[in-house]
């Protein structure tokens, strides 16, 4: 049987929430411990791809997947031209500026005129600082961002925090919040039209499943958009 729809799922911190949601829809037979990257759910005709979260927008934008589940942080960073019909509610986290405690004790963010930050989010970081008239040098890293200030690579970092435990463990303090993020459902623009019936049905089922699921992020944790420069 030909799979009707392909869904890109994020490996890592959003995977449990995504699988739980799919489970509520009756999708079964996914072996998380397997190293396979593609699964097929014969009953619903879904094909599931397990991908690095940052790659998900590209798969959906180019139509290699019809739908995807990905954090709002990545959508804000990449601005892919896709539909984003559902806030899935789980995977709440915040994108913040952080710095070592010693620096924080004598630092005044109002006086920043030039900063160097290490981050996985070069675009959001640059936008945040330039919007405030602060010159910024971005050191783009792919992981272990917290290490950068400890070894003198950059004084500050821009990174996602969930509990704040990783920051604390590395002697870092949050200075400012840039944005908040939860998991989103994204849809390829052509799939929304050409697979209209199947996609709408899936979105409706997800909505129903979300309504009956407990709210998993703190009350009032509404996601604020970053004030953005008007694109010409």
């Amino acid at each position: 049987m030909k799979e009707r729809l392909t869904i890109a799922l994020p490996k890592g911190r959003l995977l449990d929430g995504a699988l739980e949601l799919l489970h509520a829809l009756g999708v079964e037979g996914i072996d998380q411990d397997s190293r396979r990257l593609i699964f097929t759910d014969a009953r619903r005709g879904l094909r599931l791809l397990f991908l690095k979260p940052v790659d998900i927008p590209a798969y959906v934008l180019y139509g290699a997947a019809d739908l995807g589940i990905v954090g709002k942080d990545i959508l804000l960073e990449q601005e892919p031209d896709v539909y984003e019909p559902l806030d899935l509610g789980f995977g709440f986290c915040r994108l913040v500026v952080a710095e070592p405690r010693e620096l924080w004790e004598r630092d005044d963010p109002a006086k920043w005129s030039w900063v160097r930050v290490a981050t996985k989010y070069p675009r959001l970081a640059e936008q945040y600082f330039t919007d405030r008239g602060i010159q910024v040098e971005i050191v783009r890293l792919d992981g272990s961002i917290e290490l950068a200030p400890l070894v003198g690579l950059a004084e500050r970092i821009v990174d996602l925090v969930q509990s704040g435990e990783t920051l604390r463990a590395n002697g870092l303090v949050e200075v400012a919040e840039i944005t908040r993020s939860t998991a989103r459902l994204i849809v390829n623009r052509a799939s929304m039209k050409t697979e209209h019936a199947a996609v709408s049905e899936l979105i409706d089922e997800l909505k129903t499943a979300l309504r009956s699921a407990p709210v998993r992020h703190p009350a009032g944790a509404r996601v604020q958009p970053v004030p953005r420069v008007q694109r010409s």
């Binding site: 031209d81 984003e84 806030d87 390829n188 052509a190 050409t194």
Partner: protein
Amino acid sequence: MKSRHPQLPKGARIYLPDEAERKRHVEAALLDVFRRWGYREIVTPTFEYSDVLATGTDEDVQGNMFTLVERETGRMLALRPDITPQIARVVATRLRDEPKPIRLAYVTNVFRYDEPRVSHYREFYQAGVELVGLDKPEAEVEVIAMTIEGLRALGLERFQIDLGHPDFFRGLLEEAKTDPAQGRELRATLARKDGSTLERLVADLAPPAHVRDALLALPTLFGRESVLERAAGFARNERSSKALANLAEAYRLLKIYGLAESVLLDLGEVRGFDYYSGTYFEAYVAGFGAAIAGGGRYDDMLGRFGYDCAAVGFAFDVGRALSVMETQGVAVTLPGPDFFIIDFTPDKTVALSLARRLRDLGASVARDIISRELEESVAYARAQRVRHVLVVGHARAGAGEVLAMDLTDESERVLAVGEILEHPECVFRGVRHA
């Protein structure tokens, strides 16, 4: 040092012969559709004064024009970012007294400083039409029907036309009394069908209850005919309800054309919007995340050039069409030359007279001018996708004879030169044009 010769500016694109042939195939197929609907080709300049081009061009596109300076006057020139304003200007200034409707077609390159992605470059090619002087929905339906015929002519399947009307949303914005910044934010949010952000924006806006419900419903107001009924409940202002009536009429006509099942009504699609005064549409093909054709009604366009006149139009993005065809596995046959002549004699007169005779019949004929072994020449011919190889002056054929090899079925025969010259069409049945 690495050679700098391979470098191209960002967004520039080369079409090598196979690619160029595919591109030409797409353009020819679309022009043929346009011709069959009675459209005639028009050619406009690649560059014009930038202020003239800017008239009738959306602001975001204006900001992305390639500009240069005219040497004599210092005036700013621009490469056309869009051909529709150019044609509108030509109609307003040169064709205004022509009887209506005017049907114009074009295939052209356009230039924009866009971020290249999804088969979209900074120089890209459009094939489209303008239909000037008709204000009835029949005009939109004609160009939608042509778009669908174009998609079929390209061999594409699983496509949908997304049909909307900007005034439905504009009427709601007026009722909600939004300022321009709020309007832009709402539009950007709707463009993503981002339900949660929409809820927040609408809550902040606190419009009358029926407008609130309408705005929140927009991302889901797409689908088949039932959308019109659902939307009717929200259309309490004149602008929105006129838009709906217009869409309903277009949809009724599409049903008569037998095209309704290729069309989705979508009141929540608000992209590329400033351009259009009435119904607008985009063509999507399964598996490709961007529209490959789009168009609609822009009755205000000619007015900007001093001539109030209704107009509709649409264009295919040729590069994207090519990309989608590749994704869907649409084969475009790329035949090589019909004949390849290898002449081992010193004076080559036989080769020249055969080539002349076959070319006169319309066949394509290439000659091997390099001296090499027969096997090497035949290998070259195969690589060029040649159909027939004619060998003159080789040990395998006598004097006054030609060894004819058919590379499509690997058959060989020996023919008299005179016979080929007298009756080439009998000897080589199935030769293109011959």
